[in-house]
């Protein structure tokens, strides 16, 4: 008798749905609803300092970006910031991993040390660098440069140095992630391949270029994807260290959207900036994921 059994299965499914519903609803409420609101706000003219102009704006907010030099500046900075931090993290992380791999004992110690920056809250990292590491006169970096005869610099006050500084801060915090992932991957590589290569008189560089690198490529791509997504949406460390300044020299897109919405009170334009950042992040990750699949 199929009837009762199918209705039993149906009832089961309905029951399962009922059990899931609260969680799903909550998820919808806390993730999808704000996103929909963001998209809605981005097509509105919603400026709290000029409430009399409020209303539907269509694509006006997006069109406005074309002629907004500060938007282009922040977009350029986002690209520079993301590109340089990700490349640095992978290069330094890989170099460190290869180095530590050679150490026969005490690798665990390095792993623990590497975890430390990652578990710090980015705001803490930003404030810590701002007050203890990069402060002129008594900061750590300043002590070193003065001892080396390079003089004292206003690390976060000079536009170019500030950009380099925030890149250094992000790299410092997140290189350990690349390091840990790559170290773990390197440790799993089969030793026999390397032995065979050595018998064939492959040099160290050749072994690295033709064996190690292809073998750990998936891990590197994974690290690049994850780090790129974080770097694109970086906020707290820069906010705490420079607030986007001096001027707008460290104002990446995320900070510009924040300043527009919450300092200048132009919620509509701020929302459209955030939407662009969201689209950018999705597009870049999609592209990277595709490349990862394509080659494998």
């Amino acid at each position: 008798m199929p009837g009762p059994s199918s209705s039993f299965a149906q009832r089961e499914r309905r029951f399962a749905l009922a059990l899931l519903a609260p969680a799903l609803l909550l998820l919808l409420l806390i993730t999808t609803a704000p996103l929909v609101y963001l998209l809605w706000a981005s097509v509105q003219r919603l400026d709290m300092s000029m409430p009399w102009l409020s209303g539907f704006a269509g694509a006006a907010n997006y069109v406005k970006m074309g002629g907004d030099p500060r938007f282009w500046n922040s977009l350029t900075l986002t690209v520079i910031y993301t590109g340089s931090t990700v490349v640095l993290q992978v290069l330094v992380g890989l170099a460190l991993a290869l180095l530590v791999l050679q150490i026969p004992k005490g690798q665990g110690l390095f792993r623990i040390a590497a975890i430390l920056p990652i578990v710090l809250a980015p705001v803490v990292v930003g404030l810590f660098w701002r007050t203890l590491v990069l402060a002129p006169d008594f900061g750590l970096v300043d002590l070193v440069t003065r001892a080396l005869g390079l003089g004292s610099h206003n690390w976060l006050g000079d536009p170019q140095l500030a950009l380099i500084s925030v890149i250094a801060i992000h790299t410092w915090q997140w290189t350990p992630f690349a390091f840990l992932v790559l170290l773990a991957t390197l440790a799993t590589l089969p030793p026999d391949v390397f032995e065979a290569a050595r018998l064939d008189r492959a040099g160290a560089w050749q072994r690295f270029r033709y064996i190690t690198l292809p073998l750990i490529r998936p891990a590197i791509v994974m690290v690049i994807i994850l780090r790129t997504m974080t770097a694109l949406s970086a906020f707290a460390a820069i906010f705490a260290a420079t607030g986007g300044g001096p001027g707008s020299s460290t104002e990446i897109l995320n900070l510009y959207a924040y300043r527009t919405s919450f300092t200048e009170l132009n919620i509509g334009y701020g929302a459209s900036l955030a939407t662009v950042l969201l689209a950018l992040t999705l597009a870049v990750s999609f592209f990277l994921f595709k490349r990862r699949r394509g080659r494998e």
Partner: protein, 465 residues
């Protein structure tokens, strides 16, 4: 981020700790305060029914600062007087504007009132987020006009908290910017506190000696509407600049460029190199350590530089008014923290809030948070002209240094200027754009003219919406 304008949390904490320690160690010291707490006579002299909102409970957002801590200490007196329960929330100065705005715009009525930045009243009123207070001042059941004496509150601050002649906030605490200088160093070199901006630079030049870590001058240099855009407006106005040309905001006039060039030059030549990242606490710290000869900032920073535990310059401090600019004007800040009434409250809550505001701004409470205060931190930002002239106040401020009350009072009477900064609903964006451009000029990223042209372009874009 950044908009810390006022005594640091550290300072407040220290004062709080000191107060707690004093109360714990010497119970007899706390006794007079307790006795005073029962004395509600001065309030009951007002011919209003203080208990008309009994049973209500209201929340007040303030910043963590000594002058609000003193008020919080007195809260039980207010509760005993009115039967209204008070809950204070301390929000750091960098966040209080956003937090208040979030509450006001979403009409959640979380904060019945908050310590408000006077520059924000235009945006509050444009959105009808706060109540016009003339109704409350003129209602005899809510205000005993003779007892409250609204006109005794300093005019500059009343005006700063009004829009189109209507009051929207009642000033509780405020400050003027004054010259603070090292009297010992000035005397040794035969210098006098500057009367003009040129003299200020000449004095600074005479004292500056970077090799011995001595700098002649310091002014807030950090970016922010409450930092570099707190100092620059005074210079700009005393160079004869005016913000509006007709109804258009113009920030790149020749006077504006000259004023910014003066500011850049002064900091580049005579200030500590890090000053471009400094807000007032950093400046006060450097002055306390004896590395700065003169600074211009809030008179209330005296509480930091006269702290015997930290300051190396006790007894060596003098005060004077802002120097005159090229057009012969001295322009000081009209900064104050006032209390508005959230328009999203119920009628009874609004009345309870008004009772709180009139209690906090009354002459009696002002005195009780200043010279009558039992703890060590006596407030110096009193809101009333009569109290500034009280001998008890002079007595309490004796330790601040030479000419303290005089300099501050003359500034309050003569140097205040409501058009100190451009008052308009778009101020948050305008202040931000100005701060960003001024900083670009201060760090040498752009020339003054170029930076201000950019600010003008940005502001035009903002005003277009």
């Amino acid at each position: 981020m950044t908009n810390a304008h006022h005594p640091s949390r550290r300072g407040a904490l220290q004062r709080g700790l000191a107060l707690g320690a004093a109360a714990a160690a010497t119970p007899w010291l706390a006794m007079p305060a307790a006795a005073q707490a029962d004395d509600l006579g001065p309030y009951r002299a007002a011919k209003i029914n203080w208990r008309q909102a009994e049973g209500e409970s209201i929340s007040v957002a303030v910043i963590p600062a000594g002058y609000f801590d003193n008020l919080i200490t007195l809260a039980p007196q207010f509760e005993a007087l009115t039967g209204v329960k008070l809950r204070f929330e301390r929000v750091p100065p960098g966040q209080i504007r956003q937090k208040a705005m979030l509450d006001l715009s979403s009409k959640t009525a979380t904060f019945a009132t908050h310590a408000a930045d006077p520059m924000y009243y235009p945006v509050y009123t444009a959105n009808r987020w706060v109540e016009p207070l003339d109704r409350y001042l003129n209602d005899a059941t809510l205000t005993d006009a003779a007892w409250f004496n609204y006109n005794d509150i300093l005019k500059a601050w009343r005006d700063a908290d009004s829009v189109d002649g209507k009051p929207y906030g009642i000033p509780y605490d405020g400050e003027v910017t004054v010259q603070v200088y090292r009297k010992d160093l000035y005397d040794a070199r035969g210098l006098k506190p500057a009367d003009t901006l040129d003299q200020l630079l000449a004095n600074a030049k005479a004292l500056t000696d970077p090799a011995n870590r001595m700098f002649g001058l310091a002014l807030r240099g950090f970016a922010g509407a409450g930092q570099n855009m707190y100092v620059y407006p005074s210079i700009f106005r005393s160079f004869g600049g005016s913000w509006f040309n007709g109804s258009n905001l113009v920030v790149n006039s020749p006077q504006a460029v000259a004023a910014l060039e003066w500011y850049v030059n002064a900091l580049t030549q005579y200030a500590p190199p890090a000053v471009r990242n400094w807000n007032w606490p950093d400046i006060a710290d450097a002055f306390s350590q004896g590395t700065v000869g003169c600074y211009i900032d809030a008179h209330s920073s005296a509480s930091v530089i006269t702290n015997p535990e930290k300051s190396k310059v006790l007894g060596k401090i003098g005060y004077a008014r802002w120097p005159k600019g090229p057009n012969g004007k001295r322009v000081t800040s009209i900064w104050n923290w006032g209390f508005p009434i959230n328009a999203a409250l119920s009628e009874k809550q609004k009345r309870a809030t008004w009772l709180f505001i009139s209690w906090a701004a009354s002459a009696e409470t002002q005195a009780r948070t200043s010279w009558k205060f039992a703890g060590p931190g006596k407030r110096s930002g009193l809101n009333r002209s009569s109290l500034w002239r009280a001998p008890e106040f002079a007595q309490a401020m004796q330790g601040a240094g030479d000419n303290f009350i005089n300099a501050a009072l003359e500034s309050l009477d003569q140097d205040t200027d409501v058009e100190w900064r451009p008052r308009m609903p778009q101020w948050p964006a305008v202040g931000e754009a100005m701060a960003t451009s001024i900083q670009a000029a201060l760090v040498g990223q752009k020339k003054a003219k170029e930076a201000l042209d950019e600010a003008q372009a940005r502001i035009q874009q903002v005003l277009k919406g």
